[in-house]
């Protein structure tokens, strides 16, 4: 399985086909206890990647230690997750990205399923063109989540007096854009060189932390600029211009050129030729032909969107540069530094390799410079890779920046390296979302990512990455709710993990339970939701909330437990059949419902409730009709075979008022006889050892007997 601890800096767990020997990363746990040195630990996984470690201080009895220190600590460790990319260390921001990426991801999965269904219907392969459109749309949506386009260096120069304040670009976005350029945006492949130029201008700052960069050079120059009198005399000025030119930041170049002293009004007369040359270079720079559809406002160059037009313009432009280079005006330029450095700029424009190399700081910049001034077209990734290797030779680095490694992996067409790099440097979020771009990019990548592997327990690399990401989401109370969307896209193991995730939610919190039920309904996980309702039901029942307990057990359809509850009620009613306890369980009987499937005992309870109700009305002194109803209920109860024997006497004792009804006998002869027989049966049963005596006054049975006898006499007379 892929490494969960991808932030460990140890790539091996995620790199396919890596060497098997690895060194574990060592983390330190700060539990704050002073002793002992090797404490006893107890471990327990919580949801996702959260591990709870209990540190026990000592096994001595409490009384032996005189100090105030606690006996142990429990520490919750998040073994990977939102902190995976140090740049997105702000948890709230990370959650915004996590939540924001759900909709594009789910939408794309729906499209995929719909297209697969359609393809099956037509017995044909799905239409690739349409799919790439969806993938690009998805990529753009995700990209926009990662932050807005960064302000690039021009703004730095615009007002040199302002303190440098640029929003730091993030490498997550930079990496995503690289993937988008190479894998998702197939329509724009002819424009890859120009896209890379734009990419570098947005993200060159990211390299600054590790290697010198043109961006850093410009930032430093800007800081010095305030103190410079005649910029054209400063080597830093020319260096800044040539560097900016080499990586194609033309607007900056033109702006900087116009800071040249010869533009100052009082200088114009004396340095006319010099100024003309500076301006001529500035014009040539701003007229540079660009092989692209359009340019953002403020950017310079002339766009051509087809190759032949571009080539014509490119040749013409270069001819103009050569012409200027050979011009006689240079002889009239008295300012030596200006002359030399302008000529140097022309060399950059003409694509002089050594000039480009000295103007750039690291190999990616040199690489971009190649596309701008030497080879404005690409001819496949292979040649792009060869060129990158050449640039690395010219500008070697001790360790490649993570984005450099990513670029190399892409150019090398090595999906494994790209995957490893995405996972190692950018974390589970990146890899879970980027696989869609990778698989859209190439058949080889698709095979690699989607092939089911025995080593992974029968799942594909793509699925394993999604599972890992879902685990990360599951670790946090605020993100577990979106994990199901990713799990459900995992055809083989997703549902299994989802079931466990849902099982591990505290079902007795009603909010959680309702959320649980909602998710189960969405994905047809009936057994999971009924189990959660069962847990909630038992919890409420055992904690004295009987009504809620019965309700949830009914929702869960848990016949076994409901039957047990019915039995309990039954026993309970048998124990105390007094009026006071009646209300207490009346609601429960109501809840348990009248359907016979919930135990025979319940049928009795229902009749008993009806009887009690009408008896209550009789006590309250209502009409004779109520009394008649009560008698009917009594007779039906006594006739019913499910009425337990131990209830017979209490029932009749409760009905004494009915038996002794003043106005007229309420029971006819046969009814009275039925009750007398029951009483007789009871007296016989009393002799048996298993007879359960009910708590009634000792005279109960004789009072009932007398009442029945009186009633019988009156009934005979009446009939």
């Amino acid at each position: 399985m892929p490494g969960l601890l991808t932030n460990s800096g140890d790539s091996s767990s995620i790199v396919p086909y890596s060497p098997t020997t690895t060194t574990p990363t060592v983390y330190t746990l700060h539990h704050g206890l002073t002793s002992p040195i090797t404490p006893r630990l107890s471990i327990s996984w919580s949801r996702g990647n959260s591990l709870r470690v209990t540190v026990f201080r000592s096994p001595e009895p409490a009384s032996n230690s005189g100090d105030d220190e606690a006996g142990g600590k429990v520490v919750d460790l998040k073994l990977s997750g939102e902190d995976i990319d140090s740049e997105i260390s702000d948890a709230a921001r990370w959650r915004r990205i996590a939540y924001g990426s759900v909709a594009p991801f789910a939408h794309l999965q729906n499209k995929k399923n719909a297209m697969a269904a359609l393809a099956e219907l037509r017995h044909s392969v799905s239409y690739d063109g349409e799919w790439s459109k969806y993938v690009l749309e998805y990529s753009k949506q995700i990209n926009s989540l990662l932050g807005s386009k960064k302000s690039s260096p021009p703004s730095l120069i615009e007002d040199p007096k302002t303190v440098l304040k640029v929003e730091e670009p993030n490498s997550l976005k930079a990496a995503w854009e690289l993937l988008e350029i190479f894998y998702a945006d197939k329509q724009s492949h002819p424009w890859i060189p120009e896209q890379l130029v734009d990419w570098l201008s947005d993200y060159d700052a990211l390299f600054s932390g590790q290697v010198p960069s043109v961006h850093l050079r410009l930032v430093e120059f800007q800081a010095e600029l305030i103190n410079m009198q005649a910029v054209e005399n400063e080597p830093a000025y020319w260096q800044a211009i040539s560097s900016a030119l080499a990586v194609g930041w033309l607007d900056i170049v033109v702006k900087l050129l116009r800071l040249h002293g010869s533009y100052q009004l009082h200088q114009l007369g004396a340095r006319e030729t010099e100024n003309g040359l500076v301006e001529a270079v500035a014009v040539l720079v701003s007229k540079m032909p660009r092989m692209r559809v359009d340019l953002p406002s403020g950017k310079l160059g002339e766009c051509y969107n087809n190759k032949s037009d571009f080539m014509r313009a490119w040749e013409k432009w270069r001819a103009q540069i050569t012409k200027l280079d050979c011009s006689a005006f240079w002889l009239q330029c008295s300012h030596n530094q200006t002359k030399e450095n302008l000529k140097n700029l022309l060399q950059i424009l003409l694509g002089n390799t050594s000039t480009l190399s000295s103007a750039t700081c690291h190999w990616v910049e040199l690489y971009i410079a190649h596309f701008l001034y030497i080879r404005p077209f690409t001819s496949g990734l292979e040649s792009m890779y060869v060129l990158a290797q050449k640039c690395i030779q010219l500008k070697p680095v001790s360790t490649h920046h993570k984005l450099m490694r990513l670029i190399l992996g892409i150019l090398e067409e090595n999906t494994e390296v790209v995957l490893a790099e995405c996972s190692r440097s950018f974390g589970p979020w990146m890899i879970a979302h980027a696989t869609e771009l990778l698989t859209a990019g190439s058949v080889e990548a698709e095979i690699l990512l989607k092939e089911e592997r025995d080593n992974l327990g029968g799942i594909s690399i793509e699925e394993s990455h999604r599972l890992v990401y879902a685990q990360v989401l599951s670790s946090h109370a605020l993100t577990w709710q979106i994990a199901p969307i990713y799990l459900i896209s995992c055809v083989k193991h997703g549902v299994g993990l989802l079931e466990i995730l849902l099982y591990k939610q505290p079902a007795y919190h009603s909010q959680v339970l309702l959320k649980n039920i909602e998710i189960c309904r969405m994905y047809d996980l009936d057994s999971v939701s009924s189990n959660a309702m069962k847990i909630a039901g038992v919890h409420h029942w055992k904690h004295g909330r009987k009504g809620a307990g019965v309700f949830w057990l009914q929702q869960a359809g848990d016949e076994t437990r409901l039957n047990r509850i019915a039995q309990k009620l039954f026993d309970f009613v048998g124990k105390s059949i007094s009026d006071e306890s009646f209300e207490q369980w009346e609601g429960l009987i109501e809840l348990l419902g009248s359907e016979s499937r919930t135990a025979g005992g319940l049928e009795f309870l229902h009749k008993y409730r009806d009887f009690k109700k009408s008896l209550q009305q009789v006590q309250d002194g209502v009409s004779i009709d109520a009394a008649r109803k009560a008698v009917e209920a009594l007779i039906s109860l006594m006739k019913n075979p499910s009425t337990p024997q131990r209830f017979w006497l209490p029932l009749m004792y409760d009905s004494l008022k009915l038996l002794n009804w003043q106005e007229r006998p309420l029971l006819n002869v046969s009814q009275t006889n039925l009750l007398l027989n029951k009483l007789q049966e009871l007296l016989v049963a009393r002799l048996r050892p298993d007879f359960v005596e009910v708590a009634l006054p000792p005279e109960a049975s004789s009072s009932v007997r007398v009442a029945l006898a009186t009633n019988l006499g009156r009934a005979i007379l009446e009939e």
Binding site: V15, T22, P24, L41, L51, F56, D76, L79, V468
Partner: protein
């Protein structure tokens, strides 16, 4: 012109490298010295004293030599990565949060199914239950305390939640008692004892609940090498249990070993709750009888209502310290981790029996323990990562890579 303002001695050896701490954290430096230590010093004025450079902390030393240390300055926190001469890269900053402080004398603990309640056992026989004050909070405080035994508590196990909030406590006197949180007759919620197994003459070593869909089973292993499986009679009551089976942990049903003396037993149920699969668990002993020791997988034969040994994980009779059956989210095989006195091993077991009714097994990972005796093993909820804790006071995490090779992924050690 720079002048020297301060001078301080940080080490008796030479200083090989100085790194400034990011300015957001004050004026401070990290000094890596020739003796292999990295110490952090801060310029600070405390208690109205004049400004001084004071040592804040130190990492590494002669036995644990630091080669390099670098600060990473993210927005929210300061991180320090240290490279050691033994090739380890240490990241002292782990995302960690203290969530509970335990009472003195606590010696064991257990979380419930959803990680929302903690039961801890004390050396004086008291159980303390910890809860959060509200669901959103993540700090746990003690809510119930009750004495279950005169001896000490050695293990706490939660009963599956379908049967309420209840625990089984195994105590030093050899008893296993089940306690339940319940409110009866409109009384407030209390912890009450439901039942108890074993005792001084019949010592319980381990007890684990198996939660099949239809009923609750409890496997209890005794110090005399006997295993008993109990089944609950009434799903709403934890009082009444029926003895379903009693056997020894041997594959040959005819072999009987008397007078076994066991010091530890480990039981791990198959965590999968499925109606289609028979109930099963793995069991191993740490005893003087090698035949009882080796972990065996027992499966319930529904048709004949009996337990059958279906697999054996190694047959060398090594003393078993811990067992853990991994959750299976869809693998075509099961994974079981075994910790013996010699090694930690990870076993693959077929899900379906061969012609002889046995499940074929294969040891797919093996790591010698050296001096470290494993105390506890736990699989994460996906069954992808195994965590172990042991006598060396470290937590180790184990994972398989994309080639199916198991390796030690990380070590978590206590700050000294």
């Amino acid at each position: 012109m720079m002048t020297m303002m301060m001078m301080l001695r940080v080490n008796n050896g030479s200083i090989t490298k100085v790194v400034w701490v990011p300015p957001e954290y004050g004026d401070a430096i990290a000094c890596i010295c020739s003796d292999g230590s990295l110490s952090i010093w801060e310029e600070i004025s405390e208690d109205s004293e004049p400004v001084q450079w004071k040592q804040c902390t130190s990492f590494g030393g002669p036995l644990d030599q630091v080669l390099d240390g670098q600060f990473g300055n993210s927005v929210s926190s300061l991180k320090l990565t240290i490279a050691y001469s033994n090739g380890l890269v240490k990241k002292p900053d782990l995302m960690e949060k203290s969530i509970a402080t335990l009472d003195k004398g606590t010696i064991c603990s257990s979380w419930n199914y959803c990680g929302q309640r903690l039961a801890t056992g004390l050396i004086d026989g008291i159980i303390a239950i910890f809860d959060t004050s509200d669901p959103a909070s993540s700090f746990f405080t003690s809510t119930f305390k009750f004495k279950v035994n005169n001896g000490s508590i050695t293990k706490v196990v939660w009963v599956p939640p379908e049967y309420g909030d209840a625990i089984a406590c195994i105590c030093s006197d050899g008893s296993l008692s089940i306690w339940e949180e319940i409110s009866e007759d409109s009384e407030p919620v209390q912890w009450k004892q439901c039942t108890s197994f074993g005792g001084p003459l019949d010592q319980v070593l381990d007890g684990q609940f198996g939660n099949s869909v239809s009923s609750l089973k409890l496997t209890v292993a005794y110090s005399n090498g006997l295993v008993k499986v109990y089944e609950i009679l009434d799903s709403m009551e934890l009082k009444n249990w029926q003895l379903q089976a009693e056997f020894q942990n041997v594959t040959d049903s005819l072999a009987k070993f008397g007078k076994a003396s066991c010091s530890l037993a480990s039981i791990s149920w198959n965590p999968q709750r499925s109606e289609s699969r028979p109930a099963s668990f793995v069991l191993g002993f740490n005893s003087d009888t090698p035949q009882l020791n080796s972990p065996k997988v027992w499966e319930f034969d529904q048709d004949h209502q009996r337990w059958l040994p279906v697999a054996e994980l190694g047959d060398n009779g090594d003393l078993v310290n811990a067992l853990a059956w991994a959750p299976n989210i869809g693998r075509p095989y099961e994974l079981i981790a075994v910790a013996t006195s010699k090694e930690i091993s990870i076993w693959q077991m077929a899900s379906n029996p061969d012609a002889n009714g046995r499940l074929s097994v294969e040891k797919v990972g093996m790591f010698p323990c050296h001096d470290n005796q494993v105390w506890q093993m736990e699989w994460d909820m996906s069954g992808m990562t195994l965590a172990t804790s042991g006598t060396d006071g470290r937590v180790r995490l184990w994972q398989s890579n994309l080639n199916g090779i198991w390796h030690e992924q990380a070590v978590i050690e206590s700050a000294t």
